[in-house]
Amino acid sequence: MTTVDDLVEPGDRLSAVRCDGERPLADLAPGARATVTRVTTAGSPATARRLRDLGFTPGTVVQVVRRAPLRDPVVYLVKDYEVCLRRAQAACVYTVRADG
């Protein structure tokens, strides 16, 4: 979609600022791989903190594994394990497309 995505180094924390191809995790389709850029505190600071403790830290690569039959929740592969989040929580995690 954007060429900027491909230029962004995974793990570069500044990418969140530079890159306009940033998308919330909730918008990604199954099979997509993306690098976390930031976790917003829009929901609540406690939720943001928990998402980080679950492994959604800036620089981490997340893969969308599958959606539930009614499209929500969604299973993600992050830090070598699978965890499912509802759309509301996944919307707090911003990502850019990951290479490979």
Binding site: T47, L54, A68, P69, L85
Partner: protein, 651 residues
């Protein structure tokens, strides 16, 4: 380095020397914490509640080197930044801020080797607490099998604390862990504490993993393949319904005959009493009240044990999180989450395992809301009552299309229960959320694992034992109390003859005794309350007796109506009429009354075992009282509505 290490102990914990050292287990929910806890303590664990909250507490003991130790299995958590009351408990215990729960002397952090990349952040948070800490790495066998690698020794060097591999379900490493625990005072502490800043935590974790030669496990191929089917939008849903169907089929087909044996055995016992004890009241008290009470507890056991076995199996394999994943969207409509589905589903068999299954819910609000809803699901004890009443209400030959009308009404009762339960859960969730924070939803999907038979059996045994221990008293007291109400005051043969009853006619005697009992007085006393529903005092006695267990209603009503066979009183009830009052001579069991009774049984909390288990799970009398009050009030209102509507329809 021996158990006797008074000299090597650090200062500041001197007071503890005389006490028993306390060790706490911390870790994330699927890390194998409970398995380590069970291996350490055997079956000597005690379950209870933390003061004032609905969080179960597990404490056990073990001995090594001639010294006793207390182990506490803290609620599983992914973080020490609490977002729920349960997690607050874990943090408060670690910081020694909880009343009557002493701060632990040493900590065991249990981490799953296959999720080490995520878990190290949690380890860092625990190490920051500054308590003597040992890291227990589980599932190292699985890591190797999935082509991963970890140098446990090097991990210990990198973290600066003891690290031990333990394969909990096989018991590997438990001996070493016990010996290590004996030396807790001399455990090394980290030279440099891990970074507190979460932004630096990742870099620290990666450097630790690199030092320990960590290679992640390959994705579990079996899990990927099985999930492709079990979580498939169409296939997965179909499999889910088949699994649930089998679940109930097993419970009903296997438990029903076992329950029959239990009933038959206690029937035989009370028969023995009747044959050998010739004092009528003593024989009744022993045979019907005491033996009946014990039987009343034990008759639940086959079903409960079986339910817990199946729940433990599905949980151990990893299917429960899949079922919760599939059902989350549906449950979200009631404000709950997928995991509550399992609890509500079990309640179709019996509310007790359903209420105990709420332990898996991370949010306290969800737990209470689910517990308040569980008694509304149509449990198997309601079935005999529904069968009797529907038999009176609907002619078996009436058909609606290809379906028998009786079956449709029965289906309607199940539907009524399920819909009401969802509405109740929604209402209680709304009320609860107004007071507390709404928790975000997240759920780990562990790989499919073959559960160790031992841990499945321990889970089953634990739940069954706590049911028997906590509920037997309340069921016994209710049964004996109700027996006394139904049989006192004592009637002598002379009194009966004077009233024109032949003391040799057992049916007439039991009918006479009940008609002149305190229960009958009570039934007449509450008559004004139930009169608008069309219940006469004899129905009230039946409803009252159902308080210990719903199915008692059938036999008591049979007794009151002086049926030849109290277990099948339909014939007598059909022709039962009001003996006095404005409706004297009219039939009691008219369609509006039966409809009201059916609906009353659908809502009322007529199960003291459920009340007992709510008390146990929440740790206070508040929630059972709330449940009892709201369910009884709803039962009355809904029964009144049912009566009014049936009357209007021309019943």
């Amino acid at each position: 380095m021996s158990a006797d290490c008074h000299d090597t102990g650090d200062s500041g914990t001197g007071a503890v020397l005389t006490d028993v050292p306390r060790v706490a287990l911390v870790g994330s929910p699927n890390a194998g914490k409970t398995s380590v806890f069970n291996s350490l303590t055997g079956l000597k664990a005690k379950t209870g509640n933390y003061p004032g909250v609905t969080v179960a507490r597990f404490v056990g003991t073990f001995r090594v080197g001639g010294r006793g130790y207390v182990v506490e299995d803290l609620p599983g958590t992914y973080s020490l930044e609490p977002i729920s009351p349960d997690e607050q408990i874990t943090v408060d215990v670690l910081d020694g801020r909880l009343e009557n729960v002493p701060r632990p002397d040493a900590l065991l952090v249990v981490v799953d080797a296959t999720t080490l990349r995520r878990s190290l952040g949690f380890v860092a948070q625990v190490l920051a607490r500054g308590l003597p800490t040992c890291v227990v790495v589980t599932f190292t066998d699985e890591l190797t099998r999935r082509q991963g690698h970890l140098d446990v020794e090097a991990l210990g060097q990198a973290l600066g604390v003891p690290v031990l591999p333990v394969v909990g379900h096989r018991g590997h490493g438990i001996g070493e862990l016990r010996e290590r625990l004996a030396e807790w005072r001399s455990w090394p502490r980290p030279v440099l504490p891990p970074p507190a800043d979460p932004d630096e935590s990742d870099a620290w974790a990666e450097s630790v993993l690199a030092f320990a030669g960590y290679r992640s496990a390959e994705r579990h191929r079996v899990t990927q393949r099985v999930d492709a089917v079990l979580l498939h939008p169409v296939l997965g849903t179909a499999v889910f319904f088949v699994v649930m169907l089998l679940f109930f089929q097993t419970v009903f087909t296997l438990a029903a005959p076992l329950q029959g044996y239990v009933e038959a055995f206690f029937g035989w016992l009370s028969g023995l009493v009747a044959a050998h004890v010739h004092v009528a009241w003593l024989s009744g008290l022993l045979g019907d009240a005491v033996i009946g009470g014990v039987g009343g507890v034990l008759v639940f056991v086959p079903q409960i044990v079986l339910l817990f076995l199946l729940i433990a199996l599905l949980e151990g394999v990893g299917y429960m999180s899949r079922a919760a994943f599939l059902m989350d969207r549906v449950m979200a409509r009631a404000g709950l989450e997928g995991r509550a589905f399992v609890a509500l589903l079990s309640s179709f068999a019996c509310a007790i395992p359903g209420i105990m299954a709420t332990r898996t819910l991370p949010s306290a609000n969800d737990r209470v809301a689910t517990m308040m809803a569980a008694p509304l699901m149509t449990c198997s004890a309601r079935l005999p009552v529904y069968v009797l009443l529907i038999g009176l209400l609907v002619d078996p030959s009436v058909k609606v299309g290809p379906f028998g009308a009786q079956g449709l009404v029965m289906f309607g009762m199940y539907l009524l229960g399920a819909v009401s339960a969802m509405l109740a859960a929604w209402a209680f969730k709304r009320l609860g959320d107004r007071r507390g924070l709404v928790m975000p939803f997240y759920m780990e999907m562990p790989p499919y694992r073959l559960p160790a038979p031992r841990s499945v059996l321990v889970a089953m045994w634990d739940s069954s034992r706590s049911f028997i221990r906590k509920c037997s008293t309340i069921i016994m007291v209710t049964t004996v109390g109700l027996w006394l109400l139904l049989n006192l005051p004592l009637q002598s043969a002379a009194q009966m003859r004077a009233a024109g009853v032949d003391p040799g006619d057992a049916t007439a005697v039991s009918s006479y005794v009940v008609d002149h009992s305190y229960a009958a007085d009570l039934g007449r006393l509450v008559a004004p309350v139930f009169d608008p529903l069309g219940f006469d005092w004899r129905v009230n006695v039946g409803v009252l007796s159902a308080q210990s267990a719903r199915e008692t209603f059938v036999a008591t009503l049979g007794q009151v109506a002086a049926a030849e066979d109290p277990e099948h009183p339909a014939q007598v009830l059909r022709s039962m009429t009001y003996p006095d009052g404005p409706r004297a001579g009219q039939r009691v069991f008219t369609a509006p009354t039966i409809a009201a009774l059916l609906v009353y049984f659908a809502y009322a909390l007529q199960c003291m075992a459920t009340v007992g288990i709510m008390r146990r799970e929440t740790g206070t009398w508040k929630w059972p009282a709330v449940a009892f009050t709201y369910l009884t009030a709803t039962a009355w209102v809904m029964a009144y509505l049912a009566r009014t509507i049936t009357t209007m329809l021309g019943g």
